[in-house]
C-alpha cells in the first residue's frame, strides 16, 4: 500500500510501509548507507505527517519483511496479543504518541498493552517522538527481572561489571572484578567478553567467577559472552553457567549471520533453566543488540536500522531475558556517525525495548573512529538515568582494553547514583554492607578487613 503527504504543493509518495518508516526516521548514517533514508529534510517531515495519520491497525496487515520468508516476522505476527491491542486499536500512530504521553498513563497501563504491540508499531511511534518524549514515556515503565538479584526496581539502577582482559588472564580479570566491587558495581551481572572463542577458555572463566561468588557468598550472576553454541557445550560439560548470552538481530537472515536460529536460542534457554541456578528467579537469558547489526550483515531487507532493532526486541521477549543491552555506539560511524546520532539511538532503543516489555540496559559507548567522546557519554548516561534505564556497563576507567572501545566506568555509575539518588539492586546493596564496603547509607566505608578478605582472591587464583 502506498502513502503520501503534500507540503507546499509538493506531494511526497512512499510506496510501502517499510519505505514510509525509513523516510520518517531521524537522520543517521546507516540508513544513508542502506540507501533508504529520506532524500531531504522536507521529505522526512512529509513522511512523519503520513506516518502520524497511519492507523495502528495497519501494522496487522502489512509486514515490513514477508511472513513467508522470515521467522522473526512469523514470531511477531503469531505472538501478537489481539486482546492487549484492543485498548489502542482505534488510534493512529500520531494519536498513540499522545496516548503514551498522557499523564494518566501509569506503569500498569503501559505494561498492559505491551503484548499487543508489534515492534514496528513501537518503532513507528518513536520516530514521531522527541528525545524528551522518549525519556518521559520510558520513565513510566518498569520491567523487573530476577536471578540472584532483583533488577529494575523503581529508584534503582544496576551495573554490569565488565572485567575484560586482552588475553583472558584470570588474575587480570579478577583484579578488575575486585576494583568494580570496591566501587560498588556488579549487581546486574559480572559479564566477561572473552578474547578467545574456545569452549575451554569460556569454562575456565565461568569457574573463576563462580568460585569468587561462592567464596564471598555474593548475590551476583556471571556470564561469559560467548556464542550460544559454546554455552550449550559448556553446560554439557558441566560448567557453572548462570546466564546464556547471545547477540541477536531483527531478521532471520541477520540472525543466521550470527550463527543462531530461534530454536537454537530455545534449546539454550531450556538447558540453562534445567540447571536451576537462580536463587530468587529464573530469568536466565542475556541478549545484546544494536542498531546497524542487520545492515552490517546485509540482512536489513530494505528496513531502516531502528525498525530492525525494535524487531530484535521481539526476538528477545520470547525468551524472558534477565538483561537486554543495546550496545549503542559500538558498531561504528557508518551506522551512527556521531554523538548526536548515538544519543538519539540510545534513547530510542531504551524506549522501544521498555515498551515491548524488556529489561533494557544500555552500553553507553563509542569507538575511536566515531565523532564522539566522554562528554557525550556523560550526556547520554544522564538522559538514560532520568529515563530509568535498568542497567549500564561498568568498565574500569571506561576503557575496555580487550574490545578497544570506551563505555561507562565505575566512577560514572557513582556519579549518576549521586545526582539521581539511584540505589543498587537490594540484595547486592545488602551484600556490600555485609562485606563492609558501604555503610547503611550506601557510602563507602572500607575497613582493613574488607581488603584482607578481598585482595587475596586475585593473587591466590590457580592458573
Amino acid at each position: 500500500m502506498a502513502f503520501s503527504h503534500t507540503i507546499n504543493g509538493t506531494t511526497y509518495r512512499f510506496e510501502d510501509l517499510k519505505t514510509l518508516l525509513a523516510r520518517a526516521t531521524p537522520a543517521r548514517s546507516g540508513d544513508n548507507l542502506a540507501g533508504i533514508a529520506a532524500a531531504s529534510e522536507i521529505e522526512r517531515a512529509a513522511a512523519c505527517f503520513a506516518l502520524a495519520d497511519l492507523p495502528m491497525k495497519h501494522f496487522l496487515n502489512e509486514a515490513v519483511i514477508p511472513y513467508e520468508s522470515d521467522d522473526v516476522t512469523r514470531l511477531i505476527v503469531d505472538a501478537h496479543d489481539a486482546e492487549a491491542f484492543q485498548a489502542i486499536s482505534h488510534l493512529t500512530v500520531g494519536q498513540f504518541r499522545e496516548w503514551l504521553l498522557d499523564s494518566q498513563r501509569t506503569s500498569e497501563a503501559l505494561a498492559s498493552v505491551s503484548r499487543g504491540l508489534m515492534p514496528e508499531m513501537v518503532a513507528a511511534v518513536s520516530k514521531l517522538m522527541r528525545n524528551q518524549d522518549l525519556i518521559l514515556a520510558a520513565s513510566r515503565i518498569r520491567v523487573i527481572t530476577r536471578f540472584r538479584s532483583t533488577i529494575g526496581l523503581p529508584g534503582t539502577m544496576a551495573v554490569r561489571l565488565q572485567p575484560n582482559h586482552p588475553t583472558d588472564d584470570p588474575r587480570g580479570i579478577l583484579a578488575s572484578v575486585i576494583d568494580g566491587v570496591l566501587y560498588g558495581c556488579g549487581d546486574a551481572v559480572i559479564g566477561i567478553n572473552p578474547a578467545s572463542d574456545s569452549v575451554g577458555s569460556a569454562i575456565r572463566l565461568l569457574q573463576l567467577i563462580d568460585d569468587f561468588r561462592q567464596r564471598f557468598e555474593a548475590p551476583i550472576q556471571s556470564c561469559v559472552l560467548t556464542h550460544v553454541t559454546n554455552t550449550i557445550e559448556a553446560i554439557r560439560q558441566g560448567a557453572p553457567v548462570d546466564l546464556v548470552f547471545q547477540s541477536i538481530a531483527g531478521s532471520e537472515k541477520a540472525n543466521a549471520s550470527f550463527g543462531v536460529t530461534l530454536s537454537l536460542l530455545r534449546e539454550a534457554q531450556e538447558a540453562a533453566l534445567e540447571l536451576a541456578r537462580g536463587t530468587i528467579g529464573s530469568d536466565c537469558m542475556y541478549f545484546e543488540t544494536g542498531q546497524g547489526s542487520a545492515l552490517s550483515a546485509e540482512a536489513n531487507l530494505g528496513v531502516d536500522q531502528q525498525t530492525c532493532e525494535a524487531r530484535a526486541y521481539a526476538v528477545a521477549r520470547a525468551y524472558r531475558p534477565l538483561l537486554v543491552n543495546t550496545v549503542v555506539g559500538f558498531i561504528g560511524p557508518e551506522y551512527l556517525f556521531d554523538s548526536k546520532q548515538i544519543i538519539r539511538a540510545g534513547l530510542e532503543d531504551h524506549f522501544c525495548g521498555k515498551l515491548l516489555g524488556l529489561p533494557m540496559g544500555c552500553d553507553i559507548c563509542y569507538t575511536n573512529h566515531t565523532e564522539a567522546d566522554q562528554d557525550d557519554m556523560d550526556t547520554l548516561l544522564t538522559l538514560l538515568g532520568v529515563a530509568g534505564v535498568n542497567f549500564i556497563m561498568g568498565v574500569p576507567g571506561a576503557d575496555d582494553i580487550m574490545l578497544n572501545y570506551q563505555s561507562t566506568s565505575f566512577h560514572d555509575a557513582l556519579y549518576i547514583r549521586k545526582v539521581l539518588g539511584l540505589k543498587r539492586a537490594p540484595e547486592f546493596e545488602a551484600w556490600l554492607e555485609a562485606m563492609q564496603i558501604v555503610d547503611v547509607r550506601g557510602n563507602f566505608t572500607f575497613s582493613r578487613t574488607t581488603f584482607e578478605r578481598l585482595l587475596p582472591a586475585a593473587t591466590e587464583v590457580s592458573l
Partner: protein, 252 residues
C-alpha cells in the same frame, strides 16, 4: 598536582595483574584530574592512529627482507573519510586491482592467500604482520603460501574477493583493528575457508589482539596453524569450527 586530594586506593597492588584502569582513586565520586587528562591524551593517540596511512613502499621492503613476494591492492574507497562512512566500498576491490590480481591457470593446489590490510590502524600491520607471518610459515605443512597482498582502505571481506581471484583454498586477512586507548597497534587475523564474494562473518574464524603485549606472534601462529588444519578437515571455517587450541598441550 603533586598534592593530590584524591587518595591512592588501598588496592593499588592489583594493578600488577592488568593494564585496565583500576584503582584510579576518586574525589567524591569523580576521577582525579590527572586521570582525566591521561585518558584524553590516550584518546587523541587512538584518533591519530585511525587516520594514519599504510606506507606501501616501506611494507614491500619489509616483506622482501623477510623473504615474501608482495602484490598491492586497494578497495574502492577513495579516502579515509569515505572508508569510514562506506564499509561496502572497503569490501570491494578497485576494478583495476581485480584485473591485476586475477591468477591465470588456477590449480587445485591447497593455496593459502594472505592479505595484509590497513583496516582501522595502519600501525598494526606495519609493526606485526611480517613477524607473525614468519612464525606462521614455519611448519605450515601442506599449505602453499601465495604472494602477500598489501591492501589499503580495506575491510576484512575484501579478502574474499582477493582469495577468490587467487583461487585460494583459504584466505588469511591480517588487518589493523579498531584502536583502543592503550592499544593503537592491535592486529586481527581472520581466516576464511574457500573464500568467495558474499561469505558471511559467521563463516570466518578470528584471532584478535595480536601484538607482543597482547597475544604474542608465536601463540597467534600456533592457533592459526591449528585452525588451518581443522578447516581443511572440516571443509569450513566459522561457527562450526571451534577454536580448541587452548586445550592443546603446546599452549599449557
Amino acid at each position: 598536582m603533586s598534592e593530590d586530594i584524591s587518595r591512592t586506593e588501598p588496592w593499588h597492588v592489583l594493578t600488577q595483574w592488568t593494564s585496565a584502569r583500576i584503582a584510579m582513586g576518586r574525589v567524591g565520586s569523580s576521577l582525579p584530574t590527572k586521570a582525566v587528562m591521561e585518558f584524553n591524551a590516550d584518546h587523541a593517540l587512538a584518533r591519530d592512529a585511525v587516520y594514519a596511512s599504510l606506507d606501501l613502499a616501506e611494507m614491500q621492503e619489509q616483506f622482501a627482507q623477510a623473504g615474501f613476494t608482495t602484490l598491492v591492492a586497494r578497495s574502492r574507497a577513495q579516502s579515509r573519510s569515505e572508508y569510514l562512512r562506506r564499509p561496502d566500498l572497503g569490501r570491494s576491490l578497485d576494478p583495476v586491482c581485480a584485473a591485476e590480481l586475477q591468477l591465470k591457470n588456477i590449480e587445485e593446489s591447497g593455496m593459502l592467500s594472505v592479505v595484509v590490510a590497513d583496516g582501522l590502524s595502519a600501525l598494526a600491520p606495519r609493526l606485526h604482520a611480517a613477524p607473525l607471518l614468519k612464525q606462521l610459515c614455519e611448519g605450515l605443512g601442506h599449505w602453499k603460501l601465495d604472494s602477500v597482498v598489501l591492501a589499503t582502505q580495506a575491510r576484512v571481506a575484501l579478502g574474499d574477493e582477493i582469495g577468490e581471484l587467487r583461487g585460494a583454498e583459504a584466505v588469511l586477512v591480517l588487518i589493523g583493528e579498531r584502536p583502543g586507548l592503550r592499544s593503537s597497534d592491535s592486529l586481527g587475523a581472520y581466516l576464511t575457508y574457500r573464500p568467495r564474494v558474499g561469505r558471511m562473518d559467521s563463516e570466518r574464524n578470528c584471532i584478535s589482539n595480536i601484538r607482543p603485549v597482547g597475544l604474542g606472534y608465536e601463540q597467534a601462529a600456533f592457533r592459526l596453524k591449528h585452525l588451518l588444519e581443522r578447516a581443511r578437515i572440516l571443509g569450513a571455517t566459522g561457527v562450526s569450527l571451534k577454536d580448541e587450541s587452548d586445550d592443546l598441550p603446546a599452549l599449557q
